[in-house]
């Protein structure tokens, strides 16, 4: 089940110019695609457009086509898209529904909303909690968890919808190193289990770890799209406002200093 954006452009309501231009992007099954770019390059906008929130909830005007498994989703209402594409945001706390006293109910929120039979709601909830290894948090009050844990709960809430694609907009931006590690490990596990994920991140080290493909945005356009190692090693990245991963940076510094890169050995950073 692939998600395709063809010739997509997007302009926010009342904006002077478009935030996205000529986006051609394919998000196939079982792939983690990293999205990199300077602040305001359009990463968040692309996430909103891919998930359907733009223009449905956010307003604005879209052009081009978005297809899910070949079918044009332009006429789909938000709640129907929500069952196929899950989107997660930076701020862990604002993603909580606020009406759930336990993590279990929080994760069940989505399936409950779409009116699935009770047994299925329960099954999906446990499955999602297990997929993220947070079944032991099921009884806890989601509002009292750490930022990293809340992000995992939010992601489980998305997974419980059994989406075909997950879009994560800078999930670790507001987390401390422990939280970042929790989320990065969770993404890696989901990837290993065959999830399709589009993850936007400033932390290129994280992208190097989990993404097989990386797309770079600059002023609303895609300027790079290719295998992760290639794109992340592209020397133009700093000009595009993207810090290369630490490993790439160190190797480059070594060879610039006339030292053979091989001396550094394998850098699994």
């Amino acid at each position: 089940m692939s998600l395709e954006l063809a010739g997509v452009g997007y302009r926010y309501a009342g904006a002077g110019q478009p935030s996205l231009l000529d986006i051609d992007l394919e998000l196939p099954e079982a792939t983690v695609v990293g999205l990199a770019g300077a602040s305001e390059s359009g990463k968040t906008t692309l996430c909103l457009v891919a998930s359907g929130l733009a223009p449905r909830t956010v307003g604005g005007r879209i052009r081009g086509t978005i297809r899910l498994d070949g079918e044009d989703v332009d006429a789909w209402p938000m709640h129907r898209l929500a069952e196929r594409i899950g989107i997660g945001f930076q701020n862990p706390a604002t993603q909580l529904s606020q009406v759930a006293d336990t993590v279990f109910e929080e994760v069940a929120f989505g399936p409950m909303n779409v009116g699935l039979p009770r047994d299925e709601v329960i099954q999906r909830t446990w499955d999602a909690l297990d997929a993220l290894r947070i079944a032991d948090l099921a009884e806890r009050d989601p509002r009292r968890l750490s930022g990293g844990q809340q992000q995992l709960v939010a992601t489980a809430g998305l997974l419980a919808m059994r989406p075909t694609h997950l879009v994560l907009d800078e999930p670790t931006a507001q987390l401390d190193p422990a939280g970042t590690r929790l989320v990065a490990d969770a993404i890696a596990r989901l990837a290993a289990a065959g999830a399709s994920i589009l993850v936007a991140e400033q932390k290129t080290d994280l992208l190097a770890e989990v993404a097989s493909r990386v797309v770079v945005l600059d002023a609303g356009r895609i300027v790079r799209d290719g295998p992760a190692d290639e794109v992340l090693a592209d020397p133009a990245l700093p000009e595009l406002g993207v810090a290369p991963p630490s490993a790439v940076r160190l190797r480059r510094a070594a060879s610039a200093a006339g030292i053979d890169e091989a001396v550094l050995g394998t850098l699994d950073g």
């Binding site: 909103l48 998930s51 929130l53 449905r56 909830t57 956010v58 209402p77 938000m78 709640h79 929500a82 069952e83 899950g86 989107i87 945001f89 701020n91 604002t94 993603q95 529904s97 606020q98 009406v99 759930a100 006293d101 336990t102 279990f104 109910e105 069940a108 929120f109 989505g110 399936p111 409950m112 909303n113 779409v114 009116g115 699935l116 039979p117 009770r118 047994d119 709601v121 329960i122 099921a138 009884e139 939010a154 809430g157 998305l158 919808m161």
Partner: protein, 275 residues
């Protein structure tokens, strides 16, 4: 069709719903249906206003607020919270009536140009009793009912999930806004905003605090809305409920009885039968 069994046996936690979901409250009063508790609070508050004199409201407070509070084990918190809620209004209402009741003549005490009167005192006490009754009734409900209990119960009775959600989420916004306002105040003080100086200074200091509180809350609402919609919140129709608070015929009768009693009281008062 999806959701076909969401109405059956909701008051019994099924085998598969984890036991910790829909935890029953710690006391019998807590476990009363939210609508019952809401009816009690409303009837108490309205009756306190309708009843004349001092004795009526006092008995009402004893029977409908203090009694259940003791049974529910929340008396201490009730007193503290209700006081917090009502103290400013109570004090000003009391003082205004004590000193400035029009037409009062029996002087009790003179402090400079203002006079406390016996009639003023009597009236002030009556007002006080009503304020105590109302804030006590509302606080009792608030302390013994989880927002999720109320929301789920309303939904079960047919209220749209989106409406029920708004009701519940609005209540939750208040502590979040208070916390936000605290953080914003700290940030502005760190830039030299004087909150400890003269009154005029402090008034000028309001905009740098109120502005971000409101703007930030708006931005947060946008984020929350997106997150909700991403989880199918806008789907029309009812949603599946995992559990619901229990209700019983007895409670239904009690609610009707309370409302009828209130109606009777109002009629009696209006027709002048009861002082």
């Amino acid at each position: 069709m999806a959701g076909s069994d969401h109405l059956s046996e909701l008051h019994v936690t099924g085998r598969d719903v984890p036991a910790f979901v829909g935890r029953p409250g710690p006391s019998a009063f807590h476990r009363l249906n939210p609508l019952t508790k809401a009816t009690l609070a409303t009837v108490t508050a309205v009756a306190a206003v309708v009843l004349g004199g001092l004795i009526g409201p006092a008995i009402l407070v004893a029977v409908a607020v203090i009694g259940p509070a003791i049974a529910a084990g929340v008396l201490g918190r009730l007193v503290r919270t209700a006081l917090l809620l009502s103290l400013p209004i109570a004090i000003s209402a009391f003082l205004v009536n004590l000193f400035f009741l029009p037409g009062a003549e029996t002087v009790l005490l003179r402090i400079g140009p203002i006079t406390a009167t016996a009639e003023g005192l009597a009236f002030a006490l009556e007002i006080l009793a009503r304020i105590v009754a109302i804030s006590g009734a509302v606080t009792l409900f608030y302390l013994t009912t989880r927002p999720s209990d109320l929301v789920v119960d309303l939904e079960r009775r047919g209220v749209s999930p989106r409406v029920a959600f708004v009701a519940s989420a609005s209540v939750q916004t208040v502590p979040a806004m208070v916390e936000r306002a605290g953080q914003i105040t700290a940030a502005q003080r760190a830039r030299g905003l004087d909150t400890e100086g003269s009154v005029w200074r402090r008034v000028r200091g309001i905009l740098p605090i109120v502005g971000p509180v409101i703007l930030g809350s708006i931005a947060e609402v946008e984020e929350r809305t997106m997150a909700l919609e991403a989880r199918g919140f806008t789907r029309p129709g009812r949603r599946t409920l995992l559990w619901a608070p229990s209700d019983s015929t007895a409670q239904g009768l009690m609610r009707r009885g309370l409302l009828l009693g209130l109606l009777a009281l109002i009629v009696l008062r209006i027709t002048g039968v009861w002082p």
